[in-house]
Amino acid sequence: MGLRGIMNHFPILTILTATPLAGALLLLLLPAGNQRLARGLALAFGLLGLLWVALMWVNFDATSTKFQFPEQHDWIESLGAQYYLGVDGLGLLMVLLTAIVTPIAMLASWRINDKVSTYMALMLMLQSGLFGTFTALNFFHWFIFWELSLVPAFFLIKLWGGPGRSAAATQFFIYTMVGSVAMLLSFLAIFWATKTFDFKLLADMGQSGQLTSALNAAFDGWLPSRHDFLPLVIFAGVFLGFAVKVPLVPFHTWLPSAYAEAPTGTTMMLTGVMSKMGVYGFLRILVPLFPEQMRLVLTPLLWFAVATIVLSACSAFAQRDLKRVFAYSSINHLGYCLLGIFAVVKFTGGEEPWNNEKAAALNGVLLQMFNHGLTASILFCFVGYLEQRSGGLRGLNDFGGLRKVAPIFCGLMGISIFASLGLPGLNGFVGEFLIFKGSFSLATWATALSVIGLLVTAIFLLTMIQRVFNGPLNVKWSGLPDLSWPERFVVLPATALMFLIGLCPQILIGKINVTVMHLVEQLKF
């Protein structure tokens, strides 16, 4: 026990969430002029978060299915709201991702000159919101962080973004709010029926079918009395909330503009971590609470996933702005996660070989979440560097033959592109492979169609390499500086991590496997 025992009684999760907030407050109170101090301080707090997560990682009991480092206090009894924190494998993974991506995003924003302390403070607030979302286990508590993370993101896009930033920020905010309000309404209905906001309790109710019957009993007579209709409506509300966030086609139209107009560091956060909030929500909330309803609409859901994968890949192919290419590519990669999740929901009666497939798929989903977070943020980081060097240009056809003048840059970016492609040996492969392996037997036609996505992804990524790195050197760029040492310092660790996970995925799977098995167990029937 020892350290682990101490850790379990130490409010590490509160400290984790509070640290970036404290940093943000400090930064806001700092006098405006001192930019270096602001950047340094922000980075320090970001790295502090990484330290806490490392501590947690080391002390995490990978054999237990319980929520670890728990903190549970009554908050508003009449509303069943509790201050309830805890992590399992999934939460730990997400928290790790946040802790890694944030400092990198901050480093990528080192060149921002305007209102630096406010920018960094907003970044820290965003990180805090993310930590909170991934560790909260009571809806009231969780929803606060879910919503609050929108505000810094909105301002980051609005105040430091590109020419179309106002519209992009507004669209982003409103789209997400629509989903959130739908989700809120559904959860309030759930509360009215069950008198609890606790995710764990609700998950148990969802598994046993109690949730459906409670909803039906509470709202008897409101909607047409076809037995499944009311819970399905409630499910739709929660589904909408997460579908907008992931995003799932056709709720994705806010994303390309938001990613394109946001400043680099913000886009890294958006794609690296914020998009994972949606998938996390599917795993933590939607699937445990509404397995019956998901099974009812499984086929349409699979269609959504397939559409997401294929259409986004095709759209990426058609883009000319590099940032938009990667934006659509993000949607594509997250589509795989959803494919895996929907496939896993399929009813298989809890028999052995099926359980293994499901476990494989879910492991793949979690891995894909982490890997894509890492890879996509680095890719955007690279695009940011390119933009800085070219004076704002980031079109697909603006460059050519960069390999000749900036070989290191092209080399490292190439590695990341291949990771995104899913080349074996790099991290992207493991997740995608597992997902496809698991889903193929569970949802064959959907998986087969998704392969098209893989192909198209390969096409546009290779096209990108060809247009930007290879080919005749565009005379304009003959003086393009290569990656500088500080910049290498930013990308090299991430690249190393890509190799590490690609070759040794056990590092991650070791921690998350038990949680995954537990999730699969719960979907037994």
Partner: protein, 493 residues
Amino acid sequence: MLAWTVYISFIGVVALMLLPASQARRARGVALLAALFGLAVGVVGVVTRATGMQTVVRKPWIPDLGISFYLGADGISLTLVLLTGLAAVVGILFSWNIETRAKEFFAFYLALIGGVYGVFLSFDLFLLFVFYELAIIPKYFLIAIWGSTNREYGAMKLALYSFVGSAMVLVGIISAYVVAGGKTMNLLELAQFPFPIAFQHWAFPLVFIGFAILAGIWPFHTWAPTGHVAAPTAASMLLAGVVMKLGAYGALRVAMTLFPQGLVFWRNEIALLAVIGIVYGAMVALVQKDFKFVIGYSSVSHMGFVLLGLVTINSIGLNGAVLQMFSHGIIAGLLFAVVGRMVYDRTHTRDLTVLEGMNLSKALPFAAGTFAVAAFASMGLPGFSGFAAELQVLIGAWSAFPTFAVLAGFGILVGVAYTLRVLQKSFFGEPVPDAEHAPHPLPPISIPERIGAVILLAATVVVGLFPNLLLTMIDDGFKTHLFDAVLRNGGAS
């Protein structure tokens, strides 16, 4: 002791009237002292409260008619007294720069505050009505003399609408008094009286709507935007923040307790009006060109939540309604303070297209930050008081009128839209590189304004994170005998 909130306000009025005209600057100090004293009494009252209802003062007044001077407090009263205290103090802070006829301004201001305190503490129907009516006249003068756009029209419209509302209430009160035997005006005793059902069927909507007019119920809400826009900042803060709550409070304290069966009979129609108010108010706010009009209509929309919560008749919904009264009081105060005092007093324009080009976030960063926070609080973002309140109202509404709950949710969305729009246009617009209108530097935000803003911001955050501070009080208030019949008839939760 709580009665001193009322007494000190009126003593303050007299003191101000006797102040010689040369000492105009002293006037604001006197007013602030009186308001602070009222707030202190309110806080002490909250901290030292007993459970249930406590009697503060009870003396026979006009025994021949059964009228007594009966002041009392339960959790609901205490919450609203606290709100009034905060709003009063902050309002004076935001009026620190009034130069013309300052003495009279603060005299009318304190008179209004005194009347409001009186309504929240009265448990005798006649006394409640006296304070309620009494508050109309200071409002008229505050707007007519120190207001801005269309002030005389706005003031008269507000006064007449309020008066018509209270006329309706008076008819109801007199009828109830006579039907109950004409012996007592004590609210607690009258609430016990079994009024005939047929009587309740017409008396309830009369009294409820009469009060709700002041709360901005659709379609009798049109006085609110005009009046709020015309009013000077402190008056708008009070009007939207506290006086609209008078109406809702009256509807709760009088109409609902006296006529519980009438309430059950009419609740669906009233819920419909409330929801229309929520959605309509938000949609109209979305298209306004004048900054203050947006906030004015947003008040109508938020008060719709209060009214919706009131007619859910279950304890969660009712608690939410009272919490929303408090929360919106604070938030509306913040919004009007920024619009009126921080922006309009400096830029002399409220046209959003003009403001858009002024790049106010650079010129007035404190105001921008305050308004951003206030805007998010107004949207109902969690972490602020509005979320907890709207959450409860929606839960309550789910049980009573599920369809209306969904519509209210839609209203929240439109709320997000207009708030975001006005936030963008007012403070975060694109600066217009226009040589002829080179903006001369705007005076910085003064200390009293900062203090006032911080007080309100702190209030909304604290209540947002720890709503129990108020909810225990409010819940307690609904558990008194007075609300027995109401909750029974509605199917208590």
